[in-house]
């Protein structure tokens, strides 16, 4: 087998590597500038109104030493249960809405309504329904994230090239193989993109629910702000943001690995 005459697009060529390193130089420069500005601003306005970068790092150490930071772990566990529920419900509903006109016509108005409605407005009602415990928080995370899974999955099904389905038919593919070998792989990049967007929403839902019922990370954030412990407050916010960014980045990676043919979709704007 002779070597292919040109490299596959998936591999990183020397030129790409150069742009990659340039990207990181740019990022470090920008981040460095932000940290310096943060430090100067923090020192100017004083700890009552803001914490400087060094104070925030001190706050982070305190959070770790006191063990307070681990409350985040418990929050995330609960968030994941709501997120998984959103995936388990959202993917089949999205597939059905994409594949069946009837299903879509019935569900679409509700889904769109929920999408534009303020989820926060529902929180008092959800407390009545589910109380303030595990169920409530799972439901909030679920409601925050499920629509992104549903709408993306649905868009994926509807974007499948009908000619591919016809091609599969011409090779005598039975209906279930058309589903398994055309619909599912065709929709996969969209499902993964939906799961990625939904994760960010789930994290938001988690914090908002916990702020409402004053528990775990939410309660900690509230308490720290009230007692003006802005160094630890900002440290905790920073950790949440970084975790969210890392999780999103991880899902980008999964998307590129699981659907290498759909790079443009997996990484818009990259």
């Amino acid at each position: 087998m002779s070597a292919p005459p040109f490299p596959a697009r998936g591999r990183i060529a020397a030129g790409t590597r150069k742009t990659l390193s340039r990207k990181w130089v740019q990022r470090l420069l920008v981040w460095g500038a932000i940290i310096i500005a943060w430090e100067i601003f923090g020192r100017r306005v004083g700890p009552f109104f803001f914490a400087s970068f060094t104070q925030t790092m001190g706050g982070l150490r305190e959070l770790v030493v006191s063990g307070d930071i681990w409350v985040l772990g418990e929050s995330i566990q609960q968030m994941l249960s709501g997120y998984l529920l959103a995936a388990v419900v959202g993917i089949p509903v999205g597939l059905l809405m994409g594949a069946s006109r009837k299903f879509r016509h019935v569900l679409e108005p509700y889904v769109n309504l929920m999408f534009v409605a303020s989820m926060e407005a529902l929180l008092p009602f959800l407390i009545i329904l589910f109380g303030v415990g595990f169920q409530f928080r799972t439901m909030v995370v679920f409601l925050f994230s499920v629509l992104y899974v549903v709408l993306n999955t649905q868009a994926g099904v509807r974007n499948i090239d009908s000619q591919l389905i016809e091609t599969a038919r011409s090779f005598r593919a039975p209906a279930w193989r058309i589903f398994k070998d055309v619909m599912l792989p065709g929709t996969l990049p969209y499902i993964l993109a939906g799961l990625r967007l939904a994760l960010g929403m789930a994290l938001q839902g988690m914090i908002i629910a916990e702020l409402w019922v004053q528990t775990q990370t939410g309660a900690l954030l509230f308490g720290l702000a009230e007692f003006r412990a802005l160094d630890r407050f900002l440290a905790l916010v920073l950790v949440i943001m970084i975790l969210g960014a890392l999780a999103t980045e991880a899902l980008f990676w999964v998307q590129r690995k699981a659907a290498p043919w759909a790079r443009d979709l997996a990484t818009p704007g990259r």
């Binding site: 087998m1 292919p4 998936g10 000619q163 591919l164 011409s170 005598r172 070998d181 759909a262």
Partner: protein, 267 residues
């Protein structure tokens, strides 16, 4: 039902009518009207006609993807009611599955036929080799050129080892040079195992170069206006294209198509 004396493809009294809305009026348009055609086993037949004459629809009916309004198609005596095992299709747009590599695309039809995986792989490799793409087995379709994509589409159809190959303007979207190369390659592959081929095109030269028999089609309603035997020896080459008789036949078909082509230009 099965008759041994039947042709590879027998189309009888076939019509297709679809309704079209023009303004507020619902009109019934006859896309194909009373088509009759028998193709002998092992023949290479081209249908040439202006765009919109229904030639692709005729092919899709033969492939079992569309049901006719009237009449029937039989492949080796068996009526076509859904895609038949005797035929395989090659499409104008390569229609490769973007999530499958080249090799796995070629395996698709074999998977649907439940061929065991080891045999499947061997056969797919064989046909990939036949179209000269062995070293691209692990590439995804978007990494291939247009010509390569069509070769993979051809290999995918050949891999199920159909008796009849149904080709729907497979080279129509390619640039002229690539089209010439692929025409010669198809001609070479065909000479090796002489499958029955029904080849749809709007390119008169392509039809003449490839086929033993060219059917000229008019539009609205689509029907055959001439049935031409192509006498050139095989293997054919650039030399064939340069023959005086080749040029004369090309001119003759063009004169037949001209009124229809002008008509479809006006629509």
């Amino acid at each position: 039902m099965h008759r041994t004396d039947a042709g590879a493809v027998e189309i009888s009294n076939l019509s297709i009518v679809f309704s079209q809305r023009i303004g507020k009026v619902q009109q019934r348009v006859a896309a194909l009207e009373n088509i009759n055609l028998t193709i002998a086993d092992g023949a290479f037949v081209s249908i040439v006609g202006p765009s919109g004459c229904g030639k692709s629809t005729l092919l899709r009916i033969t492939g079992g993807l569309v049901a006719p309004s009237d009449g029937e198609v039989r492949l080796y005596g068996t009526q076509v009611l859904s895609p038949r095992v005797e035929s395989a299709m090659v499409f104008q747009h390569h229609n490769l599955f973007p999530w499958r590599t080249t090799l796995r695309n070629v395996e698709f039809g074999l998977e649907m036929a439940n061929v065991p995986s080891a045999e499947r792989r061997e056969r797919a490799k064989h046909y990939l080799d036949l179209v000269g793409l062995t070293s691209f087995a692990d590439y995804y379709p978007h990494q291939l050129s247009g010509g390569m994509q069509q070769r993979v589409g051809l290999a995918r159809a050949l891999a199920v080892e159909p008796k009849i190959l149904l080709m729907d303007e497979p080279f129509g979207a390619l640039d002229a040079q690539t089209r010439f190369l692929l025409q010669e390659e198809l001609s070479r592959i065909w000479v090796q195992d002489r499958k029955t081929v029904l080849f749809i095109t709007h390119d008169i030269e392509e039809a003449l170069f490839l086929a033993d028999r060219v059917l000229v089609m008019s539009s609205r309603p689509g029907r055959f206006i001439e049935d031409i035997n192509v006498p050139f020896d095989r293997p054919r080459s650039d030399h064939t294209r340069g023959l005086a008789q080749f040029g004369e036949m090309k001119e003759h078909i063009w004169q037949l198509l001209k009124p229809s082509a002008a008509g479809s230009e006006l629509i």
